[in-house]
């Protein structure tokens, strides 16, 4: 459905999208992830033919987004990030007008509008001026507009931004529902939303595609170490030494306490060390209260990828955001 090759977009001085290549098959629901300013919206605008790439190819349904933009535009539904609407029109009026522009035949128009109005929960505000709607309802109007002509491809830029939790859940359901009929490309900052809805994730960072795959495979593929957490009662130094002696342990940090010491451990990803750890602790006669493997989440992955990459050029940039897991380099931690 979507075919993007070496796509580049440069704004004056800024390279917003830098040689992205990916493709989306028919029927996929693809989540577009990336930090603020990563280039998600820019890519989507190129796909929806709002502006052309600086270089590279973007095709939708086999049509080039620059040279065959009309064919592309006929086939997509697009909701920009800012959800621009005409404030002086009524909701229904606006949807009817847009349906007409998008080639919904006159006889089906009323029906199509009714359908999207009810599926996006706009029933109560259909006669209201768009300018007087709340942000959430505006968002829904934008969504309704994008789907009113049943496009082959839906491009939604942060469709749930600004919605309340209940609405988010509704929209999520709607997206899932839509996903059954159309191909979907959506960007979001709510990671578990992607995990819940997307069949595939594209993670871009600083304009480059850094990861792509199903949520599960992505996390798996990016795991560079296994992490464990233990709480042990015993002589701290001894426990520390014993744990460090276990083969394949690559890092260890110890938070000393009066009673129960907490240990964070990292090992090579190939082996599961939980049995080994339990054996070592119990074998030494110490008490083991908790032992768990800390699974990597999408969020961790997101942060990991985006941060490492960011820290690299800057060199020793102080971390502003508190990391949930301390990476455990060779340093033994405060003894």
């Amino acid at each position: 459905m979507i075919e993007v090759r070496d796509l580049v977009k440069k704004y004056a001085g800024v390279t917003a999208v830098d040689r992205i290549t990916f493709s989306v098959e028919k029927g996929e629901i693809v989540g577009f992830l990336g930090k603020n300013g990563a280039g998600k919206s820019t890519t989507m605008k190129m796909l929806s033919c709002y502006f052309p790439p600086t270089a590279g190819v973007a095709r939708v349904a086999g049509f080039d987004c620059v040279t065959q933009s009309m064919e592309v535009r006929r086939r997509i539904g697009y909701m920009p990030e800012s959800v621009p609407l005409y404030p002086d029109m009524r909701v229904e009026e606006y949807l009817t007008y847009r349906a007409r522009l998008k080639g919904v035949p006159r006889r089906e128009r009323a029906h199509a509008v009714n359908e999207v109005v009810s599926s996006t929960g706009l029933m109560d505000v259909r006669r209201k001026l768009i300018g007087s709607l709340s942000k959430g309802y505006r968002q829904r109007t934008g969504l309704a507009e994008a789907i009113v002509h049943k496009p082959e491809l839906l491009i939604l830029d942060e469709p749930t931004a600004g919605l309340d939790p209940g609405q988010i859940r509704q929209v999520r359901e709607l997206i899932k529902e839509l996903g059954k009929r159309t191909t979907l490309l959506l960007s979001t900052h709510i990671l578990n939303e992607v995990e819940l809805t997307a069949t595939r994730i594209l993670l871009i960072h600083r304009g480059r595609l850094v990861a792509s795959g199903t949520p599960g495979s992505l996390v798996g593929g990016h795991q560079t170490a296994r992490r464990y957490y233990l709480e042990v009662r015993g002589p701290g130094d001894a426990v520390n030494a014993a744990l460090q002696a276990i083969p394949n342990v690559t890092g260890l940090s110890w938070s000393p306490a009066a009673d129960w010491h907490g240990f964070k451990l990292e090992s090579v990803p190939e082996f599961d060390l939980r049995a080994e750890l339990a054996k070592t602790v119990v074998g030494n006669g110490w008490d083991l209260r908790e032992l768990r493997e800390e699974k990597m989440t999408l969020e961790d992955l997101f942060v990991q990828i985006t941060r490492t990459d960011e820290a690299a050029p800057g060199g020793g940039v102080t971390q502003i955001r508190p990391a949930p897991v301390e990476p455990a380099p060779a340093a033994g931690g405060p003894a």
């Binding site: 075919e3 493709s23 270089a55 973007a58 006669r127």
Partner: protein, 522 residues
Amino acid sequence: MTAPAPAAWSAQRRAGVATNVAIQLACLLAVLIGLNWISSRRYARWDLTAQAEYSLGDKTRQLLGRIGEGEAKYQVVVFYAPDEYGAWEAALRKTKDILEEYRTNSHGRIEYEVLSLYTGGREAVMDAVKRHKIRTEQFSPNDVLFKKGDTERIVNLSEFFQQDWSSAPQGQPPKLTAFNGEQIITSTLQALSQEKPIVIGFTAGHEESSPAKAGGEGYSIFARQILEKREGYEIRQIQIGGPEGVPKGVDLVLVAGPLRDFTESDVRNLKLYLNAGGRALFLLDAYPDRDGRKLVILNAFLAEWGIIAGHDLVIADADSALAVEIPGEGGTSLRTKDPTMFRPAKYENRHLITSKFDSDKEIHFVGACSVLIDPKQAPEGIKTTVLVYTNADTFATPLFPQVKTFVAGKCMDGPFGLAAAAEGKIKGNAGPETRIVVIGDSTALCDGIWGMKVARPDLVLNSIRWLANQEYIIGVDPKTPEDRSLVLTDSEDGYVFRVAVFFLPLIAIAFGGTMWLTRRSQ
């Protein structure tokens, strides 16, 4: 992905599109310039005004059609001298408008400029004076110069229009009652376009009004200003009684109010001239026999052509008589109706000379004699027509000097003719058609009457044009501008202000308010 590798969007392709757009723009500009160029040469113009004010007559169009490409351009310069009342402003505007039509219809062969003598800037005027090599001493304010190469004609703007001061409100410019601009411009241009001027021979030797004599009975204004300067005729004074007869090169013979009868040799020569397709215009009067002398020979000669000129005086009724100012003692003047000065009642529209005249036409007869026709007396091949008629209440009396009263049996009762034409070829004439016009009045065009500003040369001019084969000029209609002036009373003034400045904008506000409120509501 089996699709062939699509071409990437790149800087080169972008440059290609940019070039393409630039080429498109260049093409469009070329097309638009071409379109405008063609349209400025081939165009249509619709005159939507009620009176078709700007539509030039057929005759003018014919003339403009004949003004060829190869010739020198025609230049018209108006030296406008505004007066304090703004009396000429309307006339100037109409003149400008009509000159613009000449320019348009001649496709730029005729150019014009209007110079305002007092307000237009000295340099522009001096520049024009230099460019057109104008001898300033020869000029008077409001003169209009027509120029083609080195030939030039000068007409005064005052001849273009008639004004009515009497109905103008205090301090306001007078109304235009007639605008003859087209007629005058066309005939002047016509005169300019002629290679060789048409020669009018004024007969002498019978105490005629002389083109050389100024004032009183003299014909200098009509002959010099109108015929020579404006219309471009050449004026000669000729003797026709001599052995050589009517001199060679004379295109038409004009007999202007003779007081002495013609001799036998005069009429013999005239007859020879006319029989061979000559042209003659006779302006006769009521008083030729002041000294008991009648124009017996001349009248008999005219009767041979079927035209009967009466030995009488036409007395008009009060309706058609003209009110004139008679200068009294000590600069006073008396306004009175003179029954010997009158307007004819009817014109023969079937004859070309009077085809465009209607009964409102301002032509005056002063001390006129009757002119009738007798087709039976006319030779074979000659057709006679009465051109101008009096009304029924007018009579012609031969009873000098007791002329004021109608005497049954002696006087001729109206309506009767005041002017007649004869035309056709008599047997044996292999040349052009013979044409004769007799008008029962010569006084109306003498300098004295011009001084009273009531002289209207249209009938005589048209006769001359017809006689000189210049029929195309006759068809040009003078136009009577409609009076569209509007003076507001105080209450009307308030009304206009209220409606235009308050009420109409209020409609927009009210409409907007309603619209906005209904829009806001659910």
